[in-house]
C-alpha cells in the first residue's frame, strides 16, 4: 500500500503511515477527501490549522505517458476555499516511485524558528534539514543549488521568494528534467508553503521503483492501448503540442475576440501576430542555441509540449510560453513583443509567482497609473518592486484582488479572489459558468469550453451551463489520475481506459460511470468545503462589471441567466 508522510513543522517530527482508505485516491480526489477529513474549512489559510498537501495522481510513477503530475493542495489564502493546483516536472513520478502518495505539511514552526527547511526524501529515509542559504533565493538558483547537492536527477519542489514572504500570488515550483520551471501555480499555495517555512522538497530518485501494482499485466495491457492511441495521433501531436504547446491558439482566440487585452477591457490585440504561436516558433527556430520545442517535462511523456525561448544570442530566457502567459503577460499588458513577455515571464517564474495572477495584477496596476500599457520597462520596474518586497511590490505579489483593493480599482478580472485566465467570459460565456461555479475560483483547467466552440457558439446564452457542468465533471475525474490535460482529448474518447488503469494499479473495480461519479463526489466534497468556508454559494459569481461593460470587438456583456449559471454547480 502507498504511504502518507506527515511532517510536523512545530516539532519537526516526521511520521509515515499506510494510505489506508486514501489508497484509492490521487490528485484532486485525495486532496478533497483529506482536507474534508482533517482541515477546518474556516481556518486561517496561513495559520497553524491549515495543512499543505503534496500528492501524486493515482497513476503517478507508472510508465503511462503524461501521468506524473504533482498536485498541491490546502485551503487557499487567495480564494479562502479548497484548492488543488497541479504541475508537471519530475517530482510527481519521483514521489510515486518511492511509493509515497502524499506528503502532508502540518502546523507551523515556532515564532522564533526562522530557519528555511528542506525535506529530503531518498532511499535512505526522510529528513528535514535547515538550509538557510536558500532563504529568499529565486527558483532558478534554488533548483541549481539543490540539484548540485543532491544530483541532477533529483526531483525538486520549491517555493520562490514571494511565497516565502507570504505573498498570495505565489505558486509552487517543480523542476523539469533539465531544471526548467513548472508551476502548481494557482491559489497561492506558495504562500501556504511559506507560512510553514518549507523552502523545498528534494526527492532523490528511488534506485528501484517501489510502485505497487494490483495486476501489472492488466495495467500493461491498458497502457499499451493508450500508448497506441498516442502513437496513432503522433502526426497531429507533433504538428500541434510538440511545436506550439498551447501558443498556437492565439490567432483563433484573438479572432473570436475573447483574448484579454489591456486589463480585460478589450478582447483582441492589434499586435497578436507578434506574440502568437507562429511567431514564437519562428523565433525559437531562427535563434537556435538553447531554443527548443518538443521537450518533455515529465519522464516518458509523449506529448512534449515544453519549449525554451532563447534571446537573440540563443541563450535561454524562459520555458514555456504557453497561451495563458502570452495573453496575461502580453496582450493584457499591451506588450507586442515575445522578448518582452519572455523577460517578464522569466522574472515571474524566478519569483515563484503565478503568471496568470500577477499578469492580471500588473494590468490593474497599469489601469491605476503605476505602469504604462505597452511599456516593458514599466512592468519590469514593478516586478523589481515585487522582488525587493517593497510595499507596492508586496501588493502586486499578493494578486489581483489585493492590488485592486489597495489601488482603488473596483472592476477586477477575478472570481473568488483569484485572477481570470485568458478567456474573457463576455466572449466565451461557457467559461464564465466554469469560472463562477467551480470550487477553485477562476480556472480554465477546471472546465474549458474553448475546445467546444465548433458545437457550442461562444456567445450563445443557452446550453452553456450544462456543457460547463459536463466539462467540469470530466476534469474532476481526470485530475485524480495524475494525467496532464494535454492527453484529455484522447482519454475522453476512450474513457474505458480509466477503470482499466485503476484496476491494474490498486484493484478497484469500477465502471466508467462509477469513475465519473467518483469525480463528481470529489467536486461535491470540494463544494461542501467551500460552503463551510463561506465562499459558496455567496461567491459563485462573476465580477459585476462583466454584466455591464461590453467587451469589444463583440461588444457583448456577460448575460447568462442565474438559472443557466446554476446548472454549472457540481453539488
Amino acid at each position: 500500500m502507498t504511504k502518507i508522510i506527515r511532517v510536523d513543522m512545530e516539532t519537526k517530527e516526521i511520521t509515515q503511515e499506510d494510505a489506508g482508505k486514501y489508497n484509492r485516491y490521487g490528485g484532486r480526489a485525495f486532496i478533497a477527501r483529506f482536507l474534508t477529513d482533517e482541515v477546518d474549512p474556516t481556518c486561517e489559510p496561513l495559520g497553524i490549522h491549515n495543512k499543505l498537501i503534496f500528492c501524486t495522481g493515482l497513476l503517478g510513477g507508472t510508465l503511462l505517458s503524461s501521468s506524473g503530475r504533482l498536485s498541491v493542495g490546502g485551503k487557499s489564502p487567495l480564494t479562502q476555499g479548497i484548492k488543488e493546483a497541479n504541475a508537471g516536472g519530475t517530482a510527481g513520478n519521483d514521489l510515486a516511485r518511492h511509493n509515497i502518495r502524499a506528503v502532508i505539511i502540518e502546523r507551523l514552526p515556532a515564532a522564533d524558528d526562522r530557519n528555511s527547511y528542506v525535506l529530503v526524501i531518498s532511499d535512505e529515509g526522510i529528513r528535514l534539514e535547515a538550509m538557510n542559504e536558500l532563504e529568499y533565493l529565486g527558483v532558478r538558483d534554488t533548483f541549481k543549488t539543490l540539484r548540485a547537492r543532491f544530483g541532477e536527477k533529483a526531483g525538486v519542489i520549491c517555493n520562490g521568494p514571494t511565497g516565502e514572504r507570504l505573498m498570495r500570488g505565489a505558486g509552487v515550483a517543480v523542476a523539469a528534467p533539465r531544471g526548467e520551471m513548472r508551476f502548481a501555480a494557482r491559489g497561492g499555495m506558495g504562500a501556504v508553503m511559506g507560512s510553514k517555512r518549507l523552502k523545498a522538497i528534494v526527492i532523490v530518485p528511488a534506485k528501484i521503483s517501489k510502485v505497487e501494482y494490483f495486476d501489472k499485466a492488466a495495467f500493461n495491457e491498458a497502457a499499451k492501448d493508450f500508448h497506441q492511441m498516442l502513437i496513432d495521433a503522433m502526426p497531429t501531436i507533433k504538428k500541434s503540442n510538440q511545436t506550439y504547446g498551447t501558443s498556437g491558439m492565439f490567432k483563433i482566440v484573438n479572432e473570436l475576440g475573447l483574448c484579454p487585452t489591456r486589463n480585460f477591457t478589450l478582447g483582441a490585440f492589434d499586435f497578436h501576430t507578434e506574440i502568437g504561436g507562429e511567431k514564437l516558433v519562428e523565433l525559437i527556430r531562427a535563434r537556435g542555441g538553447d531554443g527548443k520545442t518538443g521537450q518533455s517535462c515529465m519522464n516518458g511523456c509523449m506529448i512534449k509540449c515544453l519549449s525554451v525561448f532563447p534571446d537573440e544570442n540563443g541563450n535561454a530566457i524562459c520555458s514555456t510560453l504557453q497561451y495563458e502567459n502570452l495573453s496575461l503577460l502580453g496582450s493584457n499588458l499591451c506588450l507586442g513583443s515575445l522578448d518582452s513577455i519572455a523577460h517578464l515571464n522569466d522574472k515571474v517564474n524566478d519569483l515563484g509567482q503565478d503568471a496568470i495572477e500577477i499578469g492580471a495584477a500588473l494590468g490593474v496596476a497599469a489601469e491605476a497609473g503605476l505602469a504604462e500599457f505597452g511599456n516593458e520597462e514599466s512592468f519590469m520596474k514593478l516586478l523589481a518592486e515585487v522582488e525587493a518586497a517593497t510595499p507596492l511590490g508586496r501588493v502586486i505579489g499578493n494578486g489581483v484582488k489585493i492590488t485592486g483593493e489597495v489601488l482603488g480599482i473596483n472592476d477586477l478580472p477575478m472570481t473568488k479572489g483569484q485572477a481570470m485566465p485568458a478567456y474573457d467570459p463576455r466572449a466565451l460565456k461557457g467559461n464564465g459558468v466554469t469560472f463562477a461555479m467551480n470550487p477553485m475560483g477562476a480556472d480554465h483547467t477546471m472546465g474549458n469550453l474553448y475546445g467546444a466552440r465548433a458545437t457550442m457558439p461562444p456567445l450563445a446564452t443557452e446550453g452553456q451551463g450544462d456543457l460547463s457542468r459536463k466539462t467540469q465533471l470530466q476534469m474532476a475525474g481526470l485530475e485524480t489520475t495524475g494525467f496532464c490535460i494535454f492527453v484529455r482529448s484522447y482519454l475522453f474518447k476512450k474513457p474505458e481506459l480509466f477503470p482499466r488503469f485503476i484496476y491494474g494499479i490498486c484493484g478497484d473495480k469500477m465502471t466508467v460511470e462509477e469513475f465519473w461519479e467518483q469525480g463528481h463526489e470529489t467536486a461535491r466534497l470540494e463544494y461542501e468545503f467551500n460552503v463551510k468556508a463561506g465562499i459558496a454559494p455567496s461567491q459563485d459569481k462573476l465580477p459585476e462589471y462583466m454584466y455591464r461593460i461590453p467587451l469589444p470587438p463583440n461588444n457583448s456583456v456577460f448575460d447568462l441567466s442565474d438559472a443557466e449559471m446554476q446548472k454549472g454547480v457540481l453539488r
Copy 2:
C-alpha cells in the same frame, strides 16, 4: 409620515416617498430591514448594487436628550457583511426636523463622471450639486467650506479624502455644533460613499421642525421622566462623562491588563498615567484657550462628553480623545504622550479614517518594521503616506486586514476583517464573544461587557456567552432609537420608557418585551444577511493567535469553548 429620499447617482434623479412600512423603524432597525429588502447580500460593496443609507433613529429630531444620532449603513467593504455605524453631531436631528427618516444613495455615477457631489437639503427642496473644489479636501476644510456657504448652523455629513479614494478604513464624518468632527467610523462606509462620488450632505436646518408626533402629550410626559432621571444623575454625569468622556476608563482597563498595547501583544502600558483621563483633563485645564470639556455634540444633549484637546498655546488640536483613541493610537503604538496621540488623531480625523481601524493598522505596520513603536514621527510619516495616497499609504488606509495581508503579518487583531476596539478578548473574554458573534465584526458598541466586570469576572470561562447575548440584544434595541450609548445605563434601568417614546412618536403600542424582541428581530435579519453574504457562520470567530499566544500581564489566552461562543449568536 416620515419620508425616504432616494438619490440615483447615475441619473441624478432625486425622489421622495413616504416611509410606509419603514416608518416604525429607525437606526439599525431601519437599515437591517431596508438592506434585507433591497440589497443583494452577495453584491460588491463598492459596486452599483450596494445602497448607502443615512438615517435617523426613531426619536431623532425630538427634544429628548442624546437621541439624535445619525446611522450610516450598507454592505461593508471591510467585513463584506451588513453594517450600521452611527455618530453624534447635528445632522441626525437636522434630517429628522425635515421629517426625513432616511436618505438612500443608489447606483454609481457613469465612469466618465468624475464630479464630487453634494446633496443639499433645505426648506427650499433637495438638490444635488457638483462641488469639485471639495475633491480630496480634508474633513476640517470641508466642514468649513460648507458651513461658510450654507450657514454655521447647517448640518454637515461628509467624506474625507481616504473615503473618496475608496480606502476601506474610511468612516463618514458628521459635524458637531462648533464644527468638531464626529464619525460613523466603522466598517468602511466612507469607501462606499466614495464609490458613489458623494462628498457631502448639507442640511440647512428647517425653520420649523416637521417632526410628527402621534401623541405629543404622552411623548412629553415620557421625556419629562427621562430628563428627570438625567437631572437626578447629574452629579455623577458631571464628574464622569462631562469631565472625562470615556477617557477615565484607562486606569482600570490597564490594571485589568486588557488594554491593547504594542500591536495587541501586551495588555498593559507602562506609561498609562501619561495618556489616561486624569492627565487629559489636567492638561486641558492647565492649557486653557480652546481646551474644553463638557460640551455637547448634539443639540440638547445633557451628557456633554465632548472635549477639545489644545496644544501648549491653547490652540485646539483635536476633539474628542475617548478611551478607544487613547488606546488604539496611544498604548497600541507605545505612544506615551497625549500630544502625540492628539497629533495622530487630528490627522486621522481630517483624513476621514476610523481611528480604531487605522490605529490597529499602524500597529501592524510597526510590527512589520515600517514604523517604530513609541516614535510619533514614524507614525506621522505613515499618515503622510496615507494622505498622499502612495501605495503604502493606501495599504494602511485600507485597514488592518489588508495591511497585514500585504505586509506578511498573519496575527491580526480583527474579526470579520474589521479591527478590534480597545479590549483584548484574552483578558475580557465576554467581549471576545461579542467581537466574534455579532453581525458587524469586532465592535465594542455591539455589546461591551467591560461595564459588567463587577459581576462577571473578565477572565471567567462560563456565563460570558449568555451575558454577551443579553448585552448585544439590549444594544440592538437601543440602536434603533437614535439614543447615544452614554444614556444606556439610565434607559436600561427604566426600559418602560422605550415603549412610551415609541407610542408618542409613531403610535405603535408595544410592551417592553416586544421592544426587545424588535431588537432581536433586527439582529436576526442582520445575521441572515451575513449568512447569505457568506461571512456567517464561517467567520463568527476570533483570530487563531488569540487562542495560542498568551497576553501579559494575565498571561491568559482566549479559551472559551465553541459552545460558549455559540450562546452569543443572535439567530
